[in-house]
Amino acid sequence: MMFKNSVMRPSPEVIEINNLTLAYQGHPAVHHVTGRFLPGSLTAIVGPNGAGKSTLLGALSGQLQAAEGSIHFGQASKGMLAYLPQQSSIDREFPVHVLDVVLLGAWHEIKSFSRVTERMRARATEALAAVGLVGFERRFIGELSVGQLQRVLFARLLMQDAAIILLDEPFNALDTRTADDLLQVVLTWHREARTVIAVLHDMNMVRAHFPQTLLLAREVIAWGESTQALAPENLLRARQTSEYWDERAPWCARPNGAKAVRG
């Protein structure tokens, strides 16, 4: 599963996934995945519901422990990674201002005690302007629409200024104008040579804008250039993968597979 990518400059920020299995109560959600994301690549992860897309992204973000296998980030440190989860865990009734949410993107500078500087404030205001939310600084997040909140979260990602950006279904439930605006932000990140990995459902968008695709159905069905990965025979194979758990499934017997099914 190699990239046929033209940009092959060596870099410490390759994300290497080696025989990765992620399991819930012994049942694999992601099964023996091997491959890599090159630095500066823009990859879509697609696949049917229950294919393990969000699980894989959660593991990449460090939220989930691998049952087996490993992920290597090279030299990239934790501060270089930004993660936007799918079903936002945000309590929208909590009374925080939009600007404060965006400022949290500077967490690695401010932590628990450091003062928020005027420069950070200016950067946060700029980030809000970049996602089309001029004048929203003092609004509470509870007063925003779903689309506006997603714009705020993108502004926070801009503020995080991360080398690796993980997006879980970032355009879900958005109108076309909001989705287009936020897609432009993603494409800008790509031009800035950041590594962007996004879980997506809109095949047309993937084909049009995402050079790389990982087609996942618990296992890797295809991983490479989008046009090839999304070939009809691959999509058919992805759809046929069974979704449900089998309580009586035998222990996985692949090489190094014994550990994955324990517990």
């Binding site: 460090g62 993660y83 865990s89 945000i90 909590f94 009374p95 925080v96 628990s112």
Partner: protein, 296 residues
């Protein structure tokens, strides 16, 4: 000609000028109110209003153990109640983190166990009068060491809260983000629960296990009807708590009624007024909505 000054002085100040126990009770209430305001506000925002109640019940067996071994010794009872309540809060929070049982269910389970344990310990140890003392406190009997303990615990709570304030707020409204940037959300949450315990232990000295929760929650739920921001709500709640303490003590003094319930009823009155007349989301706003709206 009525001497208004003498009337006001006699009603509001004379009791505190004349009696040391009234002064100590007032200072205790001001300190407890100041700590309860922000803590209660966060509890309300986290939808953990009943967790305060549960923790307050866990104070009982600890105080009982202290009482059984050392008699009516304030340090022994305070340490005992802190240990018991902290243990119960940490256990309940840990069960919530490790298993998929929800926080309200695990708190309910543990507080019922500790409450029964506490009643059992007190009942088998001696007189029945003491049980009432545990449940309703005795704010007018606070001596100087107790006052030092209450003010010390409240100060410690406020200092501790200010140390974890930023990660605590993030943990409240976006825990996954905090985890993704390497914040220790679980630790922050546990520290916050310890501060809830500390606040309740100090309030327990004055108001007893049952009434302590009143000063923790009522000012916070009342403040919600006046302002939106976390900080403004916490400050207002602290003010309302202090006001309830002073008001309740005066009513208790002039009408010769028990002080603990008077304080909590005063806080309850403030809550009902806020509910009806507040500036945000109050019944007044719902029943008589503004007839005009802006263009954008």
């Amino acid at each position: 000609m009525v001497d208004w000054f003498a009337l006001v002085y006699g009603f509001f100040l004379q009791p505190f000028v004349d009696y040391g126990f009234m002064r100590r009770a007032l200072v205790a209430c001001l300190a407890i109110g100041a700590a309860c305001g922000p803590i209660g506000t966060i509890l309300v925002l986290r939808r953990m209003s009943l967790a305060g109640d549960a923790i307050a019940h866990a104070v009982l067996p600890g105080a009982a153990v202290g009482f059984i071994f050392f008699g009516l010794s304030l340090p022994a009872m305070s340490i005992g109640s802190f240990v018991a309540a902290a243990l119960m809060a940490l256990l309940a929070a840990a069960v919530t983190r490790w298993t998929s049982q929800k926080e309200d269910a695990s708190f309910a389970s543990f507080y019922l166990i500790t409450l029964a344990l506490g009643v059992m310990l007190i009942a088998t140890s001696g007189s029945k009068v003491d049980l009432l003392h545990f449940l309703f406190g005795s704010v007018l009997a606070i001596d100087s060491p107790s006052l030092l303990l209450i003010v010390g615990a409240s100060s410690l709570t406020l200092v501790g809260l200010s140390m974890i304030w930023r990660p605590l707020i993030v943990e409240c409204f976006d825990p996954i983000f905090l985890r993704s940037v390497g914040g220790r959300g679980a630790v922050v949450h546990q520290l916050f629960m310890l501060m809830v315990v500390l606040t309740l232990v100090s309030a327990f000295q004055a108001l007893g296990t049952l009434m302590a929760v009143g000063l923790l929650m009522l000012p916070a739920t009342a403040a919600r009807f006046w302002c939106a921001g976390v900080v403004t709500r916490a400050l207002l709640a602290a003010g309302l708590g202090a006001l309830s303490g002073a008001g309740g003590l005066l009513i208790s003094y002039h009408a010769n009624v028990p002080s603990g319930p008077a304080i909590v009823l005063f806080a309850g009155g403030l809550y009902l007024v806020s509910l009806c007349l507040g500036l945000r989301d109050s019944l007044r706003m719902i029943w008589f909505p503004a007839s005009q709206h802006k263009e954008a």
